[in-house]
Amino acid sequence: MIRALFRRELQSYFATPVAYVFIVIFLMLMGTFTFSLGGFYERGQADLRAFFNFHPWLYLFLVPAIAMRLWAEERKSGTIELLMTLPVTPWQAVLGKFLAAWAFAGIALFLTFPIWLTVNYLGDPDNGVILAAYIGSFLMAGGFLAIGSCLSAFTRNQVIAFVLTVVACFMFLLSGFPFVLDLFASWAPQIVVDGVASLSFLTHFENISRGVIELRDLVYFALVIGTFLFANTIVLAWKQAD
């Protein structure tokens, strides 16, 4: 059941030029950021930090673009009525769609492998760290997508879904930033500061991308994804027919 929904959704990414345009732009931006802004060559180090450092910021705009259509389009075209009157539970529908979007993000991420080839050609990097960073990046994309899928269920307008998701994801990113944390550090007890910091995608992504895959970082992303997908089913049940 979930497989059928997953297949249909993934197929529909590739049914239009959107998927190809997205992948090309994703790869071009990744390349530009890594080699010019990130100073990949100038750093003179055989690692991919220059590459992974930009992932959160690229995802901030590109992942909501993948997620915005998930439910908004179903609403707009009226197919949500078809989907929700098939013998499908909201969980199956939400999961099938989310996994398809995540797989699509995974495909785009996988296609950055020439950068990995380059760094292996030029030097002798720690491929374990790079693999960990890829996993972290993929998990972070999943978190962004879950937020986007949930917010997309609120509206029939993809642009609104996109903007809402960018804003929500931006807040999730920012909460790990020194200037946000300083704001809390001046008055709040350390535990609150840590709490805010621990909400941030950045903190957890950086932990993983240093090559340390810790259970709590994995649990964090699993929780973010789980929570927002659960919220997604609630939104659907609540606003299904609007």
Partner: protein, 246 residues
């Protein structure tokens, strides 16, 4: 087969469906008639489990649509208003997707797909994306989707809307041919359609059931002119044949 009890829907202050009750069984073709905004579509959406009723229940083959939704929906084929389908898919992909979701096994899937494609003459457009199809074909893709799993109950919201006269005729024939072992509910505002296919007609206005009778009786009342009966009933709101107005 289909049991509706005290079904009511409010949107804010507005009462769209008002305490509707009826039941019907196999062999019946029930026609929902009424002016636009009478509550026909909302009733169908509630019966299909898409809109939650404010009060009352609907059940399909003994499965309550709210509490036992999946089992009810397994026995139901539903054509939503406007026949929505995934525009970027081809009819072949779309019908295969429906077969997957409906859990048809590979043998019955092949047979049913062939049969349904044949019945609705979808052969020439199978591999063309749905967004490029004419309104008539889109509607027929929606119908094909609804009957694919050979359901016991069919709810079709304006099944012939947008079809040309020949296609209308064919869809009516299709409905008649399926009606022996199924219960079919259609909504329409084409009165001749009721005469042509329905065994029972319900006139609904302002969310209330005004008339529940056979088309033949209705025609007799209007001295052969169904349009006249319809106009009289829905504009004066006076109900000549139902007692349970409240």
């Amino acid at each position: 087969m289909l049991k509706i009890e005290g079904l009511t829907k409010r949107f804010g202050q507005k009462l769209v469906v008002n305490n509707l009750s009826f039941r019907c069984g196999p062999g019946e073709v029930l026609g929902f008639l009424g002016p636009n905004g009478a509550g026909k579509s909302t009733t169908m959406k509630m019966a299909a489990g898409f809109v939650a009723p404010s009060a009352g229940t609907a059940s399909i083959c003994g499965h309550d649509v709210q509490t036992d939704k999946l089992n009810a929906q397994r026995r139901l084929g539903y054509l939503p208003e406007g026949a929505p389908s995934y525009a970027d898919m081809t009819p072949a992909q779309f019908l295969n997707f429906i077969a997957d979701v409906r859990g048809l096994d590979s043998r019955s899937r092949r047979d049913r797909l062939t049969e349904v494609i044949e019945l609705l003459h979808l052969g020439p457009v199978l591999d063309q994306s749905i967004e490029t199809l004419s309104k008539g074909f889109t509607r027929r893709v929606g119908l094909a989707q609804a009957i694919l799993h050979d359901p016991d109950v069919l709810i079709l919201d304006e099944p012939t809307d947008g079809l040309d006269p020949n296609q209308k005729h064919e869809v009516r024939q299709l409905i008649r041919s399926m009606s022996e072992e199924k219960l079919i509910v259609i909504s329409t505002h084409i009165l001749e359609e009721v005469e042509a296919v329905c065994t029972r007609a319900m006139i609904i206005a302002d969310g209330r059931l005004l008339v529940d009778d056979t088309p033949a009786n209705l025609v007799a009342q209007g001295a052969g002119d169904l349009d006249e009966v319809f106009r009289k009933i829905t504009t004066s709101n006076a109900s000549p044949t139902t007692e349970d107005r409240s």
